[in-house]
Point group: C2
Chain length 463, copies 2
């Protein structure tokens, strides 16, 4: 295997410029879930096309019904070089509650947070702009040193990952030949800890639903009608409270169909990581595991399905008090899926449960917010084995193969539609506050992330 040190050294020398490029990308307000930022999403895509072209990629904007895709191609050093597809997303989560941000979420700045840690702050620094840039900057270092890449590389950046990826399936279908590769590299996951890289092999799926309960045809005075008129907030809270029993299990009919107990050897491996409820939850100011009783926090977040209410609203929520009975009340509800749980069946079971609890003179509307099954990747593929070694060479501790609580629907789509397995490698940390105010990305994650991709690219190119 060729000597990597020149490429790694170049990545090191580039670091300040690499960070500057990341900052420019973070400044673009590419919030995909809010139509107000449609133009910013396109601006982010255009910036990426220009950046990839600058490294020698054949890069272009590809329009969709929603936010555009970025697709870029680069030949390998040899005609028989393996072909990989790298995936990331340039869109970011909304920033509310904005008042909790210490810095403008779209004015990234480098901060020293002590214990020798420096971070770059801003929405998307960790999810996923900082992560996708680790791969781009690894390719740049290769090009600058060797004038070529040892792999044939296709890059796909989407702009709708935070809003359910509505355009992705049609795009993969229409461009399957162009995008199919020997494997996909996905950089949207985290490290086990600051010194221990991780490869994710099990991902939870997701079902998102929004429900609105309607009662009277207008808001009512709670004095005139209270006690006699249906209150949609009561109906909604009763419905939501009924979703879980006292042991934390979800009560929906058939919810656990396709859920299997994690093999004891895998569970044993997770136990050995020594992640207690206290240190896992302690990071965010909690200490007592919620959800199903009698399971470890790793099992609860990696291998068990959940139901979470992600938002709720109804009635008067302003200052002071208003003695009103609202006409409507709404909630956003999501389910995390594992094993073989069927998103369509769970959505239908949820809707049937809700309908059965709405009084005859009230009504309910449902709005679908995406769905994807859980993913289980093989624990022993050559790609995973090579990546594990490459990561172990870069970091202080050997890489671990883990489960993941979050869902990355693209991995299932690559499997189903392009017949590719994915390698899930990322450098986020548990305190990155992704989806929350004050999101950040460690400079160490960014720097060693770039170096990690240099090593993985070399390992995947080696025979």
């Amino acid at each position: 295997m060729t000597d990597l040190s020149p490429v790694l050294d170049r990545a090191d020398r580039n670091l300040d410029d690499s960070l500057d490029r990341l900052s420019r990308l973070v400044r673009i307000k590419s919030i995909s879930t809010d139509p107000a930022y449609t133009a910013d999403c396109r601006a982010a895509a255009e910036w990426l096309v220009a950046t990839l072209a600058d490294i020698g990629f054949d890069a272009s904007i590809r329009d969709t019904a929603g936010h555009p895709m970025v697709v870029a191609h680069h030949a390998g050093a040899t005609d028989d070089a393996p072909h990989v597809l790298f995936y990331g997303h340039y869109d970011v989560q909304p920033v509310d509650p904005i008042e909790l941000w210490e810095n403008d979420p779209f004015a990234p700045s480098v901060k020293d947070i002590g214990a020798g840690r420096k971070v770059i702050t801003g929405r998307g620094t960790a999810d996923d702009k900082g992560q996708l840039m680790t791969f781009v900057e690894a390719c740049r270092a290769y090009k600058e040193v060797n004038g070529s890449l040892p792999l044939r590389v296709t890059i796909l950046f989407e702009g709708e990952e935070e809003s359910g990826s509505p355009s992705l399936k049609p795009f993969l279908e229409a461009n399957a030949e162009e995008l199919r590769a020997s494997c996909a590299l996905v950089c949207d996951t985290g490290m086990w800890d600051g010194d221990t890289p991780a490869i994710a092999a099990a991902l939870r799926g997701l079902v998102g639903e929004e429900i609105t309960i309607s009662a009277a045809d207008r808001d009512l005075h709670s004095g005139l009608f209270g006690g006699a008129a249906a209150n949609p907030i009561h109906i909604l809270t009763d419905i939501l409270a009924g979703l879980r029993d006292e042991t934390g299990r979800i009560t929906l009919e058939g919810f656990y169909d396709g859920v299997e107990e994690t093999p004891s050897n895998i569970k044993a491996g997770w136990e050995s990581l020594g992640r207690s409820a206290e240190n896992f939850l302690g990071d965010v100011g909690l200490s007592i595991p919620a959800g199903e009783k009698g399971r470890s926090v790793l099992e609860l977040t990696w291998a068990r399905p959940t139901c979470e209410v992600n938002g709720i609203w109804g009635g008067y929520t302003g200052e002071g008090f208003k003695t009103v009975i609202a006409a409507k009340a709404s909630a956003k509800v999501s389910f995390r899926l594992v094993g073989q749980q069927d998103p369509a069946k769970i959505r239908e079971s949820f809707r049937a449960y809700v309908r059965s609890r709405v009084p005859a003179d009230c009504s309910v509307e449902f709005h679908e917010h995406g769905g994807s099954p859980a993913i289980q990747l093989s624990y022993d593929s050559p790609v995973l084995t090579k990546a594990k070694t490459a990561l172990s060479d870069e970091w202080a501790n050997p890489a671990v193969v883990i489960g993941m609580g979050g869902s990355i629907p693209i991995v299932g789509d690559f499997q189903k539609m392009l017949g590719m397995e994915s390698l899930l490698v990322g450098f986020g940390l548990v305190d990155d506050r992704i989806h929350s105010p004050n999101e950040k990305y460690d400079l160490k994650s960014f720097h060693k992330g770039i170096r990690s991709w240099v090593r993985i690219i070399a390992a995947l190119a080696a025979r």
Copy 2:
């Protein structure tokens, strides 16, 4: 008893001008619950002082810690004329959801709504600006015809009725001598129907509470933490759902202490009014009584205590979807009280119940939004008897003595602090949409309301 027809005729001839004066008052955005409208509240008070001075009242603005009071005095025609205190409030409810208003809530307009009904639209037309103006315009007609009033009249208008009247008790205490009269006239209630005036003798009390549940010290990604971290929306919905049992009874310990069954003869009278669940709830698009099972809608709204969630919010409530576990979730909750229920004890019982259901690693904050006991006025006082006759003379049907679902704390304060009973006469209709979009007041309520006060003033002055 003196011939009233000249005064009644003058009230009739004044009607267009009276309506114009009401419109000017409605245009003032006196929303007391939102600090953004503090200046508008003062402007409404100043407009009323000028209007009362114009009729010959000795009227003035009286500052408080909150929005100002308006106090005005007028001597009686004779030194021994009975002294009455008239009460109303110039503040109004917020207007949200503003998008549901067909007209600008602060640009009143007269509309023909069919069936020979004309109404004036706008926030506060019925609650309480239109109602308090019926009395002011009755006094104006008397002055214009007789140059005097047969009663000694003190007027008290407050500007905080829609936000719990925080300044009222201290003001009554500090000005007890000035405000004490033989009885209070309160115009903030409704008719039984469009042809049947009503005098309210039983009013429900109110306890308002706001609770905020806090879990993690930041918003969390539901993928990374879902299933292990406490979700404050789940805690909140479980708490709220647990407030009622399957029979609709409130589960708080001691909640029904002091609640007595309504005497069967009173209940029988209510039954005879023929108000079915279908026609009571049908007006607002509902048909099935909520709340306690096996009781009539009149009993549920007049004689039974309730618990209503008036507002709820937490997590992501914007467009699209955000897979977040919120750090906090909040609700505004109110209890309607009857009989001898103690507001302080019920607030404490509620807080104890909530605290007992908050996990040890989470917390709850309470914010008090006012409280008042229920009121039961004597069914046979001379004032009530005289007013009943006067109202029966004006309207097509005789006046009925009813209960009321809403609370008017001032009535309890007059009783406790000034030793006065109140006469509750008002001309609102069930479809006035008070506290809702498209609030209106019937011109018939306004016109015959003015004439009704002319008659009541005369009746109370008669020996």
